[in-house]
Amino acid sequence: MKKFLLKFIVFAFIGLVMIFILILLPPTPKVSESLLFIDERKDSLLIYVDSPRILFVGGSNLSFGLNSQTIKDSLHLNPINTAVDAAIGLKYMMENTGQYIKKGDIVVLIPEYHYFFTDYNNASEELTRTIFDVNINKIKLLSIDQLLLNFPYLCKLASSKCIPAEYTHVEKSDVYSVHSFNQYGDVYPAYRENRMHFLPYEKITDSFKSEVIQGIRDFERNIYAKEGILLISYPALQDSSYINLEESIKRVENEYRKNGFTILGTPQKYMMPDSLFFNTPYHLNNKGVAVRTKLLIEDISKFLNNR
C-alpha cells in the first residue's frame, strides 16, 4: 500500500507541476480568437465610459439581444453591454461589474432563467479560460468552492496547450469571436442574420437555487453603496421554450417579487415568436433585437419617468 501511495503521490505531483507550467503559457491562437477575450475590452468600457451610464448585465441573451445605439438615442444614457457568454456564470458577471460601478449608474440585470436552477458557484470551461487565459488577476472573484470545482477545467485548459490543432486550426468564427462586438459590447447585427436550426429548451427539472437570489441581493447592496440603481428584467425567450419552462419562469418571477427587487416588465412581455431568434432560444436575430430593445426602452422609460 505504501509503495502504491508513494508512487501515486509522485505521479500526481508531477502532473500538477505540468498543469501549473502549462497554464502559465500564453493562450493558444485558437482561444485568443474566442469571444472570451472581449472581457478586457468590456472592462475598459466600464472604467472609461462617462456618466450618465446604463449598464446591462446578463448572459448571451443580452450580447445577442440588444441594440445599444437605439438605447443611447432614446434614453440619452451611455450604454455598456457587459454580456459575453452565459457559461461564465452570473456570480462572475455580477462581481466583475460590481467593481466598476460609478455614482448614478443604472444597472439592468437580466439573468437567463437557467441560472436559478444551476449551482451559483458555477464551474465551466469558459469561466476557467476567462480567468486563466484572459486575466489571471480576476482569480480573486472566484470563491474557494469555485476554484475547486473549476479544477477539472483547469486540467482541460492545460492539456489544450499541448494539442497541435490549437495552434494550427484557428477557425475565425463570425459570431463567437473577439471581433464580433461593436463599441457598446453588442454582437454586430451583420452576424445575426441567418437563422440556424435549433431545438427549444426542455422543461427544467433541477431544483430552485435560493443562493442565486442571495447573490443578487448582495449585488444590489453593492450597487446602492456606490449610489447606483439596480433594475431587474427578463430575458427574451422563444415562445415554445417559454411554454416548456413556464413553471420555472413563474418561480423566478415570484422570487423577484418576494424579495422586493425593482422589476421591469413581465416574463410574458419578453416571450417572442420563434421567427425572431437566430441560433438558440435566447439569441435574437436583427428583427428580434429591434423588438426587444423597444420593449426594454419602454420599461426603462416608464421607470425613469416615475422616479
Binding site: 505521479f11 502532473g15 486540467c155 482541460k156 492545460a158 489544450s160
Partner: protein
C-alpha cells in the same frame, strides 16, 4: 454518479482509503462496501433502491429454501417463483408498455381499435444487469453447483457491489461470492493494473465514444436528408461509439474491482478483431453471452442436439438477447440479424473454428485474416444500424440511403474527421495489446518508467482535452 464524473472522482478515493483501512476486519469491510454501493445507487434515484432490495431479498430467501428442500418438485417451484418475481419486476418496468403497444397494434391490423393503458414508469438503471446477475446465484444453487449463503451482508454485496451495479459485467455467484467471503489482500501489481484499466476505459469512453456520439447523433437525426457517404460514416462511428462506450465502462468496472481486490469476469476481448460472427460473440459482452449459454442454450439442448435444434436454439438465444437489450422491435431484428449470420456457420460446422487468438505469434494478420476481420466488422456495423435506429423503418431507410454511389466518397471523407484517426490509434494500441486483458497492460510493463509515465500523462491530457466536463454523457448500456 457515473465513473466518468467528478462526483465519482471524489467518491472513489474516499471508498478506497476507508475500505483498505478496514482490511483487518472482513465483516466491517463488507458492510462498508455494501453501504458505499447503496449510496452509489441512491445517488441516481433513491426509489431505485427498493427494487434492488427486493431482488436481494427474494433471491436470498430462495437460496435458503433451496438448500433446505430436497424434494425436487418443491425445489423447482421455489426456482419458478423466484424467476417469476424477478422477471416480473423486469417485465413491468421494462417491457409492459412495449407489450401493450404491440397488442394494440396487432388488434388494429384487424380493424379493432383498443385504447393503450400504459404505465408512466422510469426504467431503473441497471435492472437487466442485476436481475441476471442475481438469478445466476439462485439457478446455480438450484443446480447444486453452489451452496447458498446464510450471510446476508455478503449476498447483498454480491447483488449490489457498486462497480457492477449499472452495466455489469454480469457476474456469477461462483466467481464473486467466494471472493467476498475471504479476506482481500492489497496487491500492488493488481492495483496498478486496475489503474491502467480504468485509464484505458476512460480513454475509450471520453475520447472515442463521446466524440463519435456527436457525429452519430447528428447523422441519425438527419439521416433522411444526408448523402450516403454521411450515413456510412455515421454507422462506422456508431460502431466505434458503442464499443468505446460499453467496453470502456467494463474496463472501468473491472479496474475498480481490482482496486478493491476483486477479479471480475472479463466482458470484452477485442471483438472488432474477430474473423467471423461466432468469434465476435465469444468476444463481445462475454458475460451476457456466457449467461445465455449456461442458463438458456445448454438447457435447450446446446450443441449436442441435432443441427435443426441447434439452429432453433441459436435463434431463440439471439432473439432473447435482442429483447434483453430493450423493449423495441429494432433490438429483436438486431438479434435476428445476428442469428441469420450465425446459422451458416452452424450448418457448415465452422462456428468454433476461431477459438485461438487472431494472428497468434505474428505482428500482423495475413491477407485472408485481414479480409475476414474487415468483413466481420462490416457485418457487425450493419447490425448496429438496427440497434441505434428508433424504429425498423428508420433503420431500413437508413440502409437504403447508404445504397448510393455517393457512399463510396465516405472512404476519403472519413479522413477529415480527427476522431477517425483517434479510433485508428485505439485499434493499433489494442492490436498490439490483444494478448492481454487490457491493451495498456502490454504498453505499461515493457517500457522504462519515464516513457511509460509520459505515455500515461499524454493519455490523461487527451482525456481531459476531450472531456465534456459539465455535460457528461451517460453510458448507452445504462438504459438496458
Amino acid at each position: 454518479m457515473t465513473f466518468n464524473s467528478i462526483d465519482f472522482a471524489v467518491f472513489m478515493p474516499v471508498v478506497f482509503f476507508i475500505y483498505w483501512a478496514l482490511s483487518k476486519n472482513l465483516k466491517m469491510q463488507n458492510i462498508f462496501l455494501l453501504v458505499a454501493s447503496y449510496f452509489f445507487y441512491v445517488w441516481w434515484d433513491w426509489r431505485y433502491l427498493s427494487l434492488i432490495l427486493l431482488c436481494t431479498a427474494v433471491n436470498y430467501i430462495a437460496g435458503l429454501l433451496l438448500m433446505k428442500t430436497e424434494v425436487q418438485k418443491w425445489r423447482k417451484t421455489i426456482l419458478v417463483i423466484c424467476c417469476f418475481i424477478c422477471f416480473g419486476v423486469l417485465g413491468v418496468f421494462k417491457y409492459y408498455n412495449f407489450f401493450v403497444h404491440t397488442f394494440v397494434d396487432a388488434f388494429s391490423l384487424f380493424g379493432v381499435k383498443l385504447q393503450a393503458h400504459t404505465l408512466n414508469l422510469i426504467l431503473p438503471v441497471g435492472i437487466s444487469f442485476y436481475t441476471f446477475h442475481t438469478l445466476s446465484y439462485t439457478i446455480d444453487v438450484y443446480r447444486r453447483h453452489f451452496s447458498s449463503t446464510k450471510d446476508i451482508i455478503s449476498f447483498a454485496l454480491f447483488v449490489s457491489i457498486f462497480p457492477l451495479a449499472m452495466a455489469g459485467p454480469i457476474e456469477r455467484a461462483t466467481n464473486l461470492l467466494p471472493q467476498i467471503y475471504v479476506k482481500r489482500k492489497f496487491d500492488y501489481s493488481q492495483t496498478v493494473d486496475g489503474m491502467r484499466q480504468i485509464l484505458w476505459g476512460l480513454f475509450k469512453k471520453i475520447v472515442i465514444a463521446d466524440s463519435c456520439a456527436e457525429i452519430v447523433n447528428y447523422v441519425f437525426a438527419n439521416y433522411n436528408i444526408l448523402p450516403g457517404s454521411s450515413l456510412l460514416i455515421g454507422a462506422l462511428f456508431f460502431t466505434f461509439q458503442i464499443y468505446g462506450d460499453f467496453s470502456g465502462y467494463s474496463d472501468m468496472a473491472i479496474g475498480i474491482g481490482k482496486l478493491l481486490g476483486f477479479k471480475f469476469l472479463r466482458n470484452f476481448n477485442y471483438p472488432y478483431f474477430s474473423r467471423d460472427i461466432a468469434e465476435f460473440w465469444r468476444r463481445w459482452h462475454m458475460s451476457l453471452t456466457t449467461w445465455f449459454r449456461d442458463y438458456l442454450y445448454i438447457p435447450l439442448g446446446g450443441s449436442r442436439a441435432s443441427k435443426r435444434k441447434i439452429v432453433r436454439n441459436t435463434f431463440i438465444i439471439y432473439l432473447v438477447s435482442g429483447f434483453w437489450h430493450g423493449a423495441n422491435w429494432t433490438f429483436i431484428v438486431w438479434g435476428l440479424y445476428h442469428a441469420l449470420l450465425f446459422v451458416p456457420l452452424i450448418v457448415t460446422g465452422r462456428n468454433r473454428k476461431y477459438t485461438n487468438a487472431v494472428a497468434e505469434g505474428k505482428l500482423f494478420p495475413g491477407i485472408k485474416e485481414t479480409g475476414q476481420i474487415f468483413l466481420t466488422f462490416f457485418l457487425v456495423m450493419i447490425g448496429w444500424i438496427f440497434f441505434r435506429a428508433n424504429t425498423i423503418s428508420e433503420a431500413t431507410e437508413y440502409l437504403n440511403g447508404m445504397l448510393q454511389f455517393d457512399t463510396l466518397k465516405a472512404f476519403y471523407r472519413i479522413a477529415s474527421y480527427p476522431v477517425f484517426w483517434i479510433c485508428c490509434a485505439m485499434l493499433i494500441i489494442e492490436w498490439f495489446g490483444r494478448q492481454e486483458q487490457c491493451a495498456l497492460f502490454k504498453f505499461g510493463k515493457e517500457w522504462n518508467k519515464g516513457v511509460r509515465w509520459s505515455f500515461y500523462y499524454i493519455l490523461i491530457g487527451i482525456i481531459f482535452y476531450f472531456a465534456q466536463i459539465g455535460g457528461i454523457q451517460t453510458f448507452i448500456y445504462f438504459q438496458f
